[in-house]
């Protein structure tokens, strides 16, 4: 099953490698990983999307909590939450394709943020499934490059992850 782990870590050199090293050493999956400082500059927030049985995800959570630099771990997928991912896609856009590409981007509420006479760069935000669906909707051969940030997530309502 897919889980979104949200982790507060001390903003120390090496904290990322401790977390990444834990996943590789114990053979856990990382589908996506994002990390950036929070409003409290002493801490960073890491979001990891992983897959595994309930037992494995329980072990991952316990092992993460064991790392000295980890302040808090929450499995967002245990409750109501919102997740978003940002994607930048550069597509070949020449001649009659330009109109069609713009229409598809509009349908997905994407924004064209850079234009040349041969290409568009489209910015798209949404869930992982939405971004996947957008890529499916495009002609594969038209895709020149894709860049995805990985998932960021937050709890719904009053549910917050804070120290």
């Amino acid at each position: 099953m897919r889980h979104i782990l949200s982790i507060l870590v001390e903003n120390e050199a090496g904290a990322l490698s401790r977390v990444a090293g834990l996943f590789s050493a114990r053979g856990y999956n990382i589908e996506t990983l994002t990390v950036a400082p929070t409003e409290d500059t002493t801490m960073s927030r890491m979001t990891i999307v992983t897959t595994g049985s309930d037992e494995i995800v329980e072990q991952i959570t316990k092992q993460l909590n064991k790392l000295v630099d980890v302040v808090k771990v929450v499995d967002l997928s245990e409750g109501k939450h919102i997740e978003r991912e940002l994607m930048l896609v550069k597509v070949r856009a020449a001649g009659k394709d330009r109109e069609e590409l713009k229409r598809v981007a509009d349908i997905f509420r994407g924004r064209i943020i850079d234009v040349t006479d041969k290409s568009y760069t489209i910015e798209l935000t949404g869930t992982t499934e939405k971004l996947d669906a957008f890529l499916e909707a495009l002609d594969r051969s038209a895709i020149l490059e894709t860049v995805r940030t990985g998932v960021s997530g937050i709890g719904r309502g009053e549910w917050v992850l804070k120290v």
């Binding site: 870590v9 001390e10 050199a13 090496g14 490698s17 401790r18 090293g21 050493a25 037992e55 329980e58 072990q59 316990k62 092992q63 909590n65 064991k66 000295v68 630099d69 980890v70 302040v71 120290v163």
Partner: protein, 582 residues
């Protein structure tokens, strides 16, 4: 050398980083630092030279320094401390650090680093110490600012010695050890991201106790956590109050008295039939500071499927040890001493006592397993049996010695045949299984307890992995007794090759062995070679009479002897091979 506390500082006085290191170690009450100098730690060695609070023990290889600090920590329960230089000093230390990590040994390792401006430039004797040690430590630090040095050392000791203990590395660049800073060593420290839970959940303990007193076929399984957590007294009281069978893991030996009738022996790959069968067939299993590892329960699927109704209670300070390999019914996170103390309080208040008839039937069943006498061996043999040497060692030291061991067959025989009645007397590498630990472990133990008998049970393969430490033993007059069970094979490798690889003894024969008697003498010690079973006792008695000499006893033992019982890798714990089956 007499140890003296350092003088007080004048107001506004600063110290160099190296002096801060020494003051911090003194403030922690460190007696010994095991180490080896080199370029990046020269300021620290200079500071060592100028003080009298902490004693330095110079080893002959950095691996020996870490193992000796580790042995000291295992025997005393205090934090071991080691000091090594950058680059190769650190890489040589890695085996020792990983060994301590696998067995949760409290240790602080100070490492030199190239100057901060040179970090990342592939400087001479540079390595990424924090990166290279990361998977083998509880935590590590690189100190870039001398003002952070004292507090970082404080954090290191705090993390190393609390919760589930483990080694912590503090990497100190050369310039940091020479820069000045005011010195203040905090008495206490708290970290928001690190606060181990020691007190167990009262409700869980109550549920566990209820299950325990209602058990028909109970079993108590005690691991190294009970020794690390100083909980032997509580374990012993609980077991005796309930009258239940108890087993110890390799790491837990001594946490319950090995000579007691409720003790069914060590369990696991080379555990007794009665211990393994009682584990497999119990209806309620209490695990105390143990982690159901592969050398203990074998195949976890077999363990679960063979007895699906068994209820498991697991007490451990590390939540990640619970339900890792085996699903647990009642998890209790907390220090084993704290949890067992609470459990005993509740037990005293609880009028309910175990079902005597059921318990008698269970003990009768255990007696039939015991009757197999699974540790029997040929006592009339014309060639020295390794088991007989251990039995004599036990007899002559009256079971009071500190026994260190290396890794292999000799380790298993020592664990099976030396009965440990007290904790911290059995010092060996259980998790990582590091050949070479035995001699440096013995050094660390002998320094801690100079008046105690310390014997290192080893084999001719293991002992050569840290043989250079015989020189350290000479320098510091450490009269440990080395019991070398010399069968001219890497015995455990040979045993597996015999059982599972069609008797093809690939590279497991030790040809061109040194003359260990001459070798011991070359290092300034006493050597003995014993090849007749009738000389075993006399040799041991003579060796232990030489109170102030290290004696290397080279016992020429039966080459074909195997360790029984044996659970083959990947098999279930009730699927043992016994000696008569071959």
């Amino acid at each position: 050398m007499e140890l003296k506390p350092p003088p007080a500082l004048a107001p506004g006085e600063t110290l160099t980083g190296a002096e801060i290191v020494m003051r911090s170690l003194a403030a922690e009450g460190v007696e010994f630092v095991f180490g080896y100098p080199g370029g990046a730690v020269l300021h620290i060695y200079d500071a060592f030279f100028k003080q009298k609070a902490v004693k330095h023990i110079l080893v002959r290889h950095e691996q020996g320094a870490i193992h000796a600090a580790d042995g000291y920590a295992r025997a005393t329960g205090k934090c071991g401390v080691a000091l090594v230089t950058s680059g190769p000093g650190v890489t040589n230390a890695i085996t020792g650090i990983a060994t301590a990590y696998m067995d949760s040994i409290p240790m602080v390792v100070l490492t030199g680093q190239v100057p901060t401006r040179a970090i990342g430039e592939d400087a001479f004797q540079e390595c990424d110490t924090v990166g290279i040690t990361r998977p083998a430590v509880k935590h590590n630090f690189l100190v870039r600012d001398v003002a952070q040095l004292a507090i970082t050392i404080k954090k290191a000791f705090h993390i190393a010695t609390t919760g589930r203990p483990g080694p912590v590395v503090v990497d100190i660049p050369k310039d940091v050890s020479n820069l000045p800073a005011p010195f203040h060593y905090p008495d206490k420290i708290s970290l928001r991201s690190y606060s181990p839970v020691m007190k167990g959940h009262g409700g869980q303990i109550k549920k566990a106790l209820q299950l325990l007193v209602e058990a028909k076929r109970p079993m108590i399984y005690v691991g190294g956590g009970a020794i690390l957590g100083n909980a032997s007294a509580e374990v012993t009281e609980l077991v005796r109050t309930l009258g239940y069978p108890v087993t110890n893991t390799l790491m837990g030996l001594g946490s319950y008295p090995g000579t007691d009738k409720l003790f069914v022996g060590m369990l696991g790959m080379h555990g007794t039939v009665e211990a393994n069968m009682a584990m497999q067939n119990s209806d309620v299993l209490l695990a105390v500071g143990a982690r159901f590892d592969d050398r203990v329960i074998g195949n976890p699927a077999h363990f679960a499927a063979g007895n699906p109704t068994r209820k498991i209670i697991h007490i451990d300070v590390d939540p990640s040890s619970i339900s890792k390999r085996v699903r647990v019914d009642i998890p209790i996170v907390g220090g084993v001493k704290e949890v067992l103390t609470e459990m005993l309080t509740q037990l005293r208040a609880n009028p309910q006592r175990p079902d005597e008839a059921a318990l008698a039937a269970w003990w009768a069943q255990i007696a039939t397993w015991r009757a197999k006498d699974c540790l029997k061996y040929d006592r009339a043999a014309k060639i020295i049996k390794p088991q007989a040497v251990i039995e004599k060692l036990y007899e002559i030291t009256k079971g009071e010695a500190y026994i260190t061991s290396d890794v292999g067959q000799h380790q298993m025989w020592a664990a099976q045949f030396y009965k440990f009645d007290k904790p911290r007397r059995w010092i060996n590498s259980g998790g990582l299984g590091t050949m070479g630990v035995g001699l440096p472990y013995a050094m660390g133990v002998k320094l801690a307890y100079p008046d105690a008998e310390v014997a290192c049970v080893t084999g001719e393969a293991s002992i050569q992995m840290c043989i250079q430490e015989l020189s350290t033993c000479k320098q510091y007059k450490l009269p440990v007794k080395i019991v070398n069970l010399n069968n001219r094979y890497m015995g455990m490798v040979r045993q597996w090759q015999e059982f599972f690889h069609g008797n093809r003894y690939a590279e497991s024969y030790m040809d061109a062995l040194p003359d260990f008697v001459k070798l011991a003498e070359a290092y300034g010690h006493v050597g003995m070679r014993i090849d007749d079973p009738s000389d075993v006792e006399g040799a041991l008695r003579e060796a232990f009479k030489m109170k102030d000499r290290l004696v290397f006893m080279d016992f020429i033992t039966d080459q074909t002897e195997n360790v029984f019982p044996m659970v083959p890798g990947g098999k279930g714990m009730s699927e043992m091979i016994l000696s008569e089956e071959l």
